[in-house]
């Protein structure tokens, strides 16, 4: 009875017949699955545990550092400076593109070998492509009297640690 079938189809509401309904369900589930895949991929690609050296470094007893000295720790990438005002720690990682800078005793400046940025002992930029000064790092003395530096925490400059 082709005529009856035709009539039936006409009677169905135009907005949502069965085919359109299942298409919507299908596309909806696929979108949810796709969004989930993106989230899971992102989660999978960002490691939860890093086997990297700790951000907190023990640099030893404060009295090991002479007044007006700059000591570089190559492994942790920091300078420990003892100025007349007190102690402070400076990140040795160049703010330009992450190279390790070096302290030049004769010129009294910090210089980056990669692209020629130069900094003063307190981290201020003298010249070069570096966009920012070298950050000061959080420094404190622990219970055993050792000087500690947290490389992941920047502090405003010129906050000397007085002991």
């Amino acid at each position: 009875m082709p005529d009856a079938t035709l009539e039936l189809t006409h009677k169905l509401p135009a907005e949502l017949d069965r085919r359109a309904f299942f298409t919507k369900i299908g596309l909806g589930s696929l979108s949810i699955a796709a969004a989930g895949t993106i989230v899971f991929s992102y989660e999978y690609l960002s490691p939860n545990v890093l086997y990297e050296p700790s951000a907190i470094v023990n640099v030893g007893k404060p009295e090991n550092f002479a007044v007006n000295s700059v000591t570089m720790d190559v492994n942790s990438g920091i300078y420990l400076v003892r100025a007349e005002e007190g102690y402070f720690a400076l990140s040795a990682v160049c703010t330009h593109l992450g190279c390790l800078t070096a302290w030049n005793q004769d010129l009294g400046i910090i210089a980056c070998p990669c692209h020629g940025s130069k900094f003063t002992r307190t981290g201020e930029k003298i010249e070069g492509p570096a966009p920012k000064p070298l950050p000061w790092l959080k420094t404190w003395v622990d219970d055993e009297g050792d000087l500690m530096v947290d490389r992941s925490t920047d502090i405003p400059s010129l906050q000397y640690l007085r002991i």
């Binding site: 690609l45 960002s46 490691p47 890093l50 086997y51 990297e52 593109l97 992450g98 190279c99 990669c114």
Partner: protein, 262 residues
């Protein structure tokens, strides 16, 4: 008049084994030759019929072909180098030194890989300059130019990811500097940097990620886009030949319908 060798070849081609593989059979008719293309998995992507002029290597001054040649050398030497290289922090540098001084022909393969890599980057640029200054990127070849840009980026990324693998000072600082560039992307820069290195600094995770990118993901992407690039040459009416080229002129005169796209 056929020689003995030609007769033997014909016999083989008419034999049952050959026919089981190449079902189109022998024969010089247009139909047979068209079927030979159409029924071959590697060739069926291409147009069944092209003018020789359209795919002549000299049309790109051989630069396209040479680039592909260096890519093949890189794939072969790269697979061989993988047999001795471990992408781990304690071993990577030592393996690279072993390849140079201990493994037979290791020095040759490593140098071949390195020089081909340098040459490929040079050839890609030369190829693009030629296409650009000859105006070969114009309609109907615009999209193949875009695919060419994608291939340029893949080539540069392959070059960059391969740079880290020797795990020496040059590699370490080049990747430190290069990966820090990604931090400059607004908003998501530091996230991209973290995902790329699998950490905050160039370390074991970064080495492994760059190794996988260099040996699996980027080569597969390159092969895919090279296939599209070559396919598009035929679909876009063949390689661009400057009309003042006397050989091209001769072809056009001898083939009245040469402009017709197959």
């Amino acid at each position: 008049m056929s020689t003995k060798a030609e007769q033997i070849i014909e016999q083989v081609r008419a034999g049952r084994v050959w026919r089981s593989v190449f079902r189109s059979g022998t024969g010089q008719s247009t139909l047979h030759r068209a079927l030979a293309i159409q029924q071959n998995i590697f060739l069926h992507l291409f147009a069944t019929k092209v003018r020789k002029r359209m795919v002549r290597f000299s049309a790109t001054w051989y630069l396209g072909t040479l680039t592909f040649g260096t890519f093949l050398i890189l794939v072969i030497t790269g697979i061989l180098l993988m047999l001795y290289y471990h992408p781990s922090v304690p071993q990577a540098y030592a393996d690279m030194k072993d390849l140079q001084f201990v493994v037979s022909s290791g020095l040759f393969l490593r140098n071949l890989h390195r020089w081909s890599a340098q040459l490929m980057v040079f050839l890609v640029f030369a190829h693009m300059f030629k296409v650009f200054y000859r105006g070969a990127y114009r309609t109907p070849r615009e999209f193949n130019w875009v695919i060419g840009i994608v291939l340029l980026l893949i080539t540069l990324l392959l070059s960059y990811t391969g740079y880290l693998l020797p795990w020496d000072q040059l590699a370490y600082w080049a990747i430190t500097v290069g990966s820090n560039l990604s931090s400059a992307v607004p908003l998501v820069g530091s996230k991209i940097h973290f995902l790329l290195l699998g950490g905050n600094q160039v370390n074991a995770n970064a080495l492994l990620r760059f190794y996988v990118l260099h040996c699996v993901i980027l080569p597969l992407a390159a092969i895919l886009f090279i296939a599209i690039h070559f396919w598009r040459i035929r679909k876009d009416g063949g390689l661009y030949v400057q009309q003042s080229d006397p050989r091209a002129q001769a072809d056009v005169e001898s083939e009245p319908d040469a402009k017709e796209v197959q």
